[in-house]
Amino acid sequence: MCVVCGCGNPGGPGPAGVAVDAKTGDLHFGAGAARVSVPGMSQQRAIKLEADVLGENDRIAARNREHFAAHGVTALNLVSSPGSGKTTLLCATIELLKQYEPGLGVAVIEGDQQTTNDADRIRATGAAAVQVNTGKGCHLDAPMVEAAFAQLPLHGHAHHHHGLGDGHDHGHAHGHDHDAMPAQLLFIENVGNLVCPAMWDLGEQAKVVILSVTEGEDKPLKYPDMFAAAQLMVLNKVDLLPHVDFDVERCIEYARRVNPAIEVLQVSATRRHGMNAWLDWLLARTRAGAEARECA
């Protein structure tokens, strides 16, 4: 405030859009982008945002992650190009888990642009599935997964069920008996696309990229963002190796060029080759999730 007359003028910066010379107090009304002061016309001003474009998605993904943990759910985001055999791998996996881990709850969120074909295939195995049709969208995002998870029976587990649309703002940090909670596995089958889904965090514990040997062995180099984002590469359809020109070692070498830490498994979902190692990997993930919850 002005100490002389109390007029409220701090004697500092002048009116909006006017530059003030710090040394002399001179006012420059033509300092805006228009280089001229026009009464009634606003001058340009700068606004700092410094915001991640995916920040909103990432916030909801973090909420999904907490939500999954609170329900004892280990979520995996399965990504690949169309036709790599994701759904076939899932159906075979669910059948084997029913046999060897009958206590493990399994559910699937199926992402496709159109049709409920994949969710129908999953439901035929007896596992719960919800289809998310993205329309023209090329990937799943965190809000879609949040909405889909609310539809699944995993969501009701170890939890006094609440109606949809209650905002999910209840505290998950308390009120749940985590020790007694059975482990559950949620597969999120993303839209078949090796580009776009790499950028969207859904709240998963890990991304699993599936590559079939009927594709090119250089896909990790052609679509590096996806292989860089994945923790595991599953090479599928290895029963076809004698019939195709696919160099497994070179493919693995390419994948490690873009992601030195990536793990690799070789399977054939239709012939049930390599499925034990895949199940072991999944079960290790669910145990890791349970231990992390106990420590939390």
């Binding site: 982008a33 606003s42 001058q43 340009q44 001003r45 700068a46 606004i47 700092k48 945002l49 410094e50 915001a51 991640d52 474009v53 995916l54 920040g55 909103e56 998605n57 969208g137 090329c138 990937h139 995002d141 580009v195 776009c196 790499a198 950028m199 969207w200 990790p220 180099l221 590096p224 963002d225 860089a228 390419y254 490690r256 060029r257 873009v258 030195p260 830490a261």
Partner: protein, 114 residues
């Protein structure tokens, strides 16, 4: 074509700011798309043009900075510049690179008119 979703995210950030800060029009919007962010800039520009029609972002000048990618080389034990994923360390030629920079898409700032 995930650039359309990204353009929608950018527009939302701008419109939220417009309500918060009370401006009517954006003259210039400055973005930062790291070389390893996985964004195709021409597709993003096209998508922004489409989604901004009839909004405060329409006709704004879009400036996009492209900071280089950066990765930690395990062999060299230091950060090195990474031009694209799948390329070796420029110092030692090895592949033990963990990306740690130039992989974000951000809205930096904007020039607005009331």
């Amino acid at each position: 074509m995930h650039e359309m979703s990204l353009a929608g995210g950018i527009l939302k950030l701008v419109e939220d700011a417009s309500r918060r800060e009370g401006f009517g029009r954006v003259a210039q919007l400055r973005l930062e798309a790291g070389k390893l962010a996985g964004v195709e800039l021409s597709a993003l520009r096209f998508a922004l043009e489409v989604v901004s029609r009839g909004t405060c972002l329409e006709a704004a000048q879009i400036v996009i900075d492209e900071p280089p990618g950066q990765g930690w080389c395990v062999n060299c034990a230091q950060n090195v510049q990474v031009h694209e994923r799948g390329q070796p360390c420029p110092l030692c030629g090895g592949w033990q690179l963990m990306t740690n920079g130039g992989d974000r898409l951000r809205v930096v700032d904007m020039q607005v008119l009331d």
